[in-house]
Each structure stands twice: as C-alpha cells, then as structure tokens.
C-alpha cells in the first residue's frame, strides 16, 4: 500500500491538486440540487416525527390533540368570507389516529427517506461518474415538484382523502406529481450514466441505477392497478404488498446499500473486502427481492402457491444479505477503531449491521410457524422500524454528515451535537425495537390463546405503548438536534478552519 501522505511534500503535488480540484468541482456542481433535497428531507423528517409522536401517544391516550383542528376551524370561522363555510367539517378529525398514522408513514417514507435517498443518490452518481452534475436546475426543479407532491398528498390524507391502501395512501393526483418528479430524476440519471467518465462502474452505481429504474415503474404500476376496476378485494391486497415490500426492497434497500458500499471503504480508506461478493449480492438481490411481498399475507385469502413462492424467496434473501454482511464486516475488520473518530462511519456501520439483523429477522418472520405468532402484532412494527430506521435512516444520516460539509464549504459546528444525535437515535431505536418485539411476542402469544379476551390483550399492551412513546421522544431529540445542526450548515455557520474531512489536499497547496 503506498503511503502518499508522507511522500506528498517531496513529490510534485500537481497530479494531487488535479484530483482534489476535480472532486471539488464535482461537489460544487451538486450544491443546489443536493442541498434542496437534503433540506426538504430534514423538513419532512421533523414533520414525520411530529406525526409519529402524535400517533404513538394516541395508542395510549386516544383523545390526545383530537380537538385541535376543530377549535382551529372555529377560530378561523370569524374570517368567514375569507375561509369556506365548511371549514369545521373539513378540518374536523384531521388529527385522529386513522389519519395521523398514514400521515406519519407517508411523510417519513416519501418526505424524509425517499428525499434523502435521492439527494445521496444524486451526489454519489456525480462523484462515481466523475463528471460535474449535468442540468442542476432540472434536478432542482424535480426536488420542488417532489415536495409539492408530498405536501399535497399529506394534506389529502389529513383531510380524509386517503386511498386506504397502506404505502399508497396518497390519492392519485398526488402520486402523479411524485411520479413526474421521480421520472425526471431517472431520466437525469441515465443521462449522467451515458456521460460518465470511462472506466469501471462501481457497485454503488449499479444499486442506484437499478433503484432509479425499478421504482418509477413499480410506483406507477401499483398506483394504476389499485385504482383499476379489476383490482379489488384480495387482489388489491396482493398488489398492495407487492408494492409495499418492493418499495423497501427495490428502492430503499439498494439506495442504502449503495451508500454503505461507498462510504465504508471510502472513509476507512480500504477497498471492499471482496468485490466479487458485492456484485454477487447485487444480482441475487435483484433476482429474489421482488418476490417477497406475498409474505405479508400469510394466512390471507390468496392462492397458497403465491404465498409459498414468497416465503421461498424470503428465505433465499439470506444469500444477498449474508453476502453483504460478510463483505461489510471483512472490510471493517481491523478498522473498527475508526468508528471512534468518524461520524459518517458510526452511522453507516450502525445501519449496515441493522440491515443484516432486519433482513434475517424478516426471513424468519416469513416462515409460517413463526408468522402465526407475529402477524398483526407490534413485532412487525418493530421489524419495520429496524429496517427503515435503524438501517436506512441511520445510513442516510451518516451519508449527510459526509456530503453536506463538501457542499457548503464549511465543517460541522460541533462534535458534541453529532454525538448527541447519534446516541439518542441509536439508543432510541434499539429501545423502540426491543419494546415492540417483546410487546409483539406477548401480544401474539396471548392472541393465540382463545381463553383470553381481546380487551385483556389491549389493556395488557398499554404499558408497552407508553414505553414506545418514550423511545420516540429519544428519537425526536436526535432529530431536532440534527435539524438545528443542519440549519447552521445551510447558513454557513459551520467551522471554517480546515478540518480533516474538508479540502485538505487543496489547503496543502
């Protein structure tokens, strides 16, 4: 291994400056579009967290905050000609559990997670294609359209216009806006790929291109199908979960893994342990993941072979998951001490480990004998938070800690704030997953006992719901700290003295 750091002062620095300047130019070209995506992601993260807390509190205090919209409407009524006469009817019920819960899911899935994934994906595409971002205004326009879509959709859910199909609650007029924004990004990605600098296509690019290619098709197909006359009843259920699981498996998972496959080797400065395994992991994920949706409907009114095929595919998912786990672990082996110094690595490695855990747990949950206990319980909710939060969200946080300083040109303000963010989110999510898993098992075992009345089970679960809210508060603390820190960066109130994460090569010139 060459040690360029020590030889740098001696050798001619010219090629070095060239690489660093090149990278800086690529980063600079990403500034407006990627920061637009990140800023909106952080905004929706906070909105989604508020909905999450509301929904969580309503699980033990159902009437919490229910009257707020109605009293707001009554107050608005005094401006009668300016506001419509039916304001009270329109707003009444906007903060009931049945609307807050889907509002939480959609704001975190489409507002936070997808928006952050697009930002990270766009930055990675530019960096790995090694060309400056083409058509930045085009991409920024997509960010604006995307936000309008999420806003319209969330407002529609709160006003009672939800489709009632989980993961697809946004009504057709909102999904159409989202689809346009997404299609713009996909077209842009193809253009970037075509104009990439010749050479090897890194594994992260495979994941990003695949995700950007699969998801618009998936999203459009699912949304057209659920509104189609031939898709009703149990057929609607299978379309629902075919989409629901593929959104996780063919959109969030590849984007999360793309980031992990770039940031872990890049931060510790060591190539992926086995690049063969990473390619194998990608192609086996592409082959098996799209079959998994049916395992959400075990015991449901569907042909048995549909569900069995899903279970088989869910078990086959062990292959790409174990391959990825081995690869990330072996890359990190001997470098775990870097976790102490790098915020990006902390978040990303936490996420990568959770990916292994969440996926293997998912495989076991697809097996019929365990599913009879865990289905329709909090165990499933724990699993989904382990996947979308402990895995995906943590990787997105880590990626943003790496990317944002390079875009705004100053260093994060405070190591303490980053550490508060990390530990409150890490403990919060571990606590939440444990509570939901244990609570879910208790709930599931009680439900299997015909002698126990359902009311008893509900009463028994209340204490778990309280503790879940406590874990939610921990996550909220982390998010607020992160949003504050991120706002400082947007205002360029970060550190300007040269930190190690910043253009050090440029400074040496």
């Amino acid at each position: 291994m060459s040690n360029a750091a020590t030889s740098k002062p001696v050798s001619a620095p010219l090629p070095d400056i060239h690489d660093a300047a090149d990278r800086a130019a690529v980063d600079a070209s990403c500034r407006l579009p990627v920061l637009s995506f990140f800023a909106s992601a952080v905004f929706w993260l906070i909105v989604g967290t508020v909905f999450a807390l509301l929904a969580s509190i309503k699980m033990h205090n159902p009437q919490f905050a229910v009257e707020i919209p109605a009293s707001l409407a009554h107050w608005l009524n005094q401006f009668y000609p300016l506001v419509p006469a039916n304001t009270v009817e329109t707003l009444n019920g906007a903060l009931t559990f049945g609307r807050v819960r889907p509002a939480h899911l959609n704001t975190v899935a489409y507002g936070w997670a997808s928006t952050a994934a697009l930002g990270v994906g766009i930055w990675l595409m530019a960096r790995l294609c090694r060309v400056q971002l083409r058509y930045p205004r085009f991409v920024t326009a997509a960010a604006v359209i995307w936000n309008i879509g999420v806003f319209v959709g969330t407002a529609a859910i709160l006003l009672g216009e939800s489709t009632g199909v989980e993961w697809l609650e946004f009504p057709a007029y909102a999904t159409f806006i989202l689809f346009i924004a997404y299609a713009l990004i996909s077209i842009w990605a193809v253009d970037m790929f075509v104009h990439r600098r010749p050479g090897h296509v890194y594994v992260s690019q495979w994941y990003i291109m695949a995700a950007l290619f699969w998801f618009p098709w998936l999203y459009a197909t699912a949304n057209i199908l659920i509104h189609h006359e031939s898709v009703q009843g149990s057929v609607s259920a299978i379309v629902n979960w075919w989409y629901g699981h593929n959104a996780l498996g063919l959109w969030f998972t590849p984007m999360g893994l793309a980031a992990a496959y770039y940031f872990i080797p890049k931060v510790i400065g060591r190539p992926v342990h086995s690049y063969y395994l990473s390619a194998f992991g990608f192609w086996s994920l592409a082959l098996f993941y799209s079959w998994n949706g049916g395992h959400h409907l075990i015991g449901g009114p569907l042909p048995a072979w549909v569900i069995t095929a899903s279970i088989v595919a869910s078990v086959m998912m062990v292959i790409p998951v174990v391959v990825t786990a081995i690869n990330h672990h072996m890359t990190m082996k001997g470098n775990f001490h870097v976790l102490e110094y790098s915020p990006t690595l902390r978040f990303v490695v936490f996420g990568a480990m959770s990916y292994t855990l969440a996926s293997l747990q998912g495989t076991t949950m697809a097996i019929r004998s365990l599913n009879t206990v865990t289905h329709f319980t909090d165990y499933t909710i724990g699993h989904s938070h382990l996947g979308l939060y402990a895995f995906f969200t943590m990787i997105m946080f880590g990626s943003m800690y790496y990317i944002v300083p390079r875009l705004v040109g100053c260093e994060w303000r405070s190591a303490v704030l980053i550490k508060i963010h990390f530990w409150s989110c890490a403990y919060g999510i571990i606590f939440m997953v444990l509570i939901l898993t244990v609570g879910g098992l208790v709930q599931g075992l009680m439900m299997r006992d015909a002698a126990i009345g359902f009311d008893k089970i509900v009463e028994n679960m209340v204490v778990y719901k309280y503790f879940r809210s406590v874990s939610g508060v921990l996550l909220t603390v982390g998010h607020v700290v992160f949003a504050f820190h991120f706002s400082l960066m947007l205002l360029r109130l970060g550190r300007t003295e040269g930190g190690p994460t910043l253009f050090r090569p440029l400074e040496t010139t």
Binding site: M1, S2, N3, A4, A5, P15, D16, I17, H18, D19, A20, D22, L128, G199, H200, V201, Y202, V203, A210, W214, W217, T221, L225, H228, S230, Y262, P265, K266, V267, I268, G269, R270, P271, V272, Y275, Y276, S278, A279, A286, H337, V338, Y341, S342, P343, T344, Y401, Y402, E411, W412, R413, S414, A415, I418, K419, G494, R495, G499, P500, T501, P505
Partner: protein
C-alpha cells in the same frame, strides 16, 4: 381491458428483459474482469488507500490514531524494561 393486460405484461417482460440485458452488457463491457482493480476506483491520488477521509470536526483522525497507538506501545513496553 385486453389492452390494459397487454401493457401490464409487456412492461413486466421489458423490465425483466432489461435486467438480463444489463447483465450481458456488463459482462460484454468487461465490468466483471479485473474486479479487484475496479473496487479501487473510489480512491484518488490525493485520497489514496489508507487515507481516512472523515472525522469529527476539529479532530485529525490519523494523528489521533497514531497518538493512541504510540501510547499503547509505550505503556505495553514499560513493564518489560
């Protein structure tokens, strides 16, 4: 209705076919040959292998690690002498 199902099935075939096409394209392009070299594409001359590229603000990770290693070596060496 026939058109609807036709479009649906055609789009599925296209999507599946495009994945197969991508696999063969990549193989033909030589993306799967000399992969160990390919995995190093994320490093540059000024950010070579062995360079830690991220740290908490105000910390030089490389110096910190070197300092810690030196301290460990000195404390490990102390009882022997």
């Amino acid at each position: 209705m026939a058109l609807f199902y036709g479009l649906l099935i055609a789009s599925m075939v296209l999507l599946g076919g495009s994945a197969v096409y991508a696999l063969f394209w990549a193989a033909g392009e030589g993306q799967f040959t000399n992969m160990e070299e390919g995995s190093k594409i994320i490093f540059d001359k000024d950010e070579p292998e062995g360079e830690i590229t991220d740290a908490f603000p105000g910390i030089d990770a490389k110096k910190e690690i070197a300092r810690k290693q030196a301290r460990r070596l000195s404390t490990a060496g102390a009882p022997k002498s």
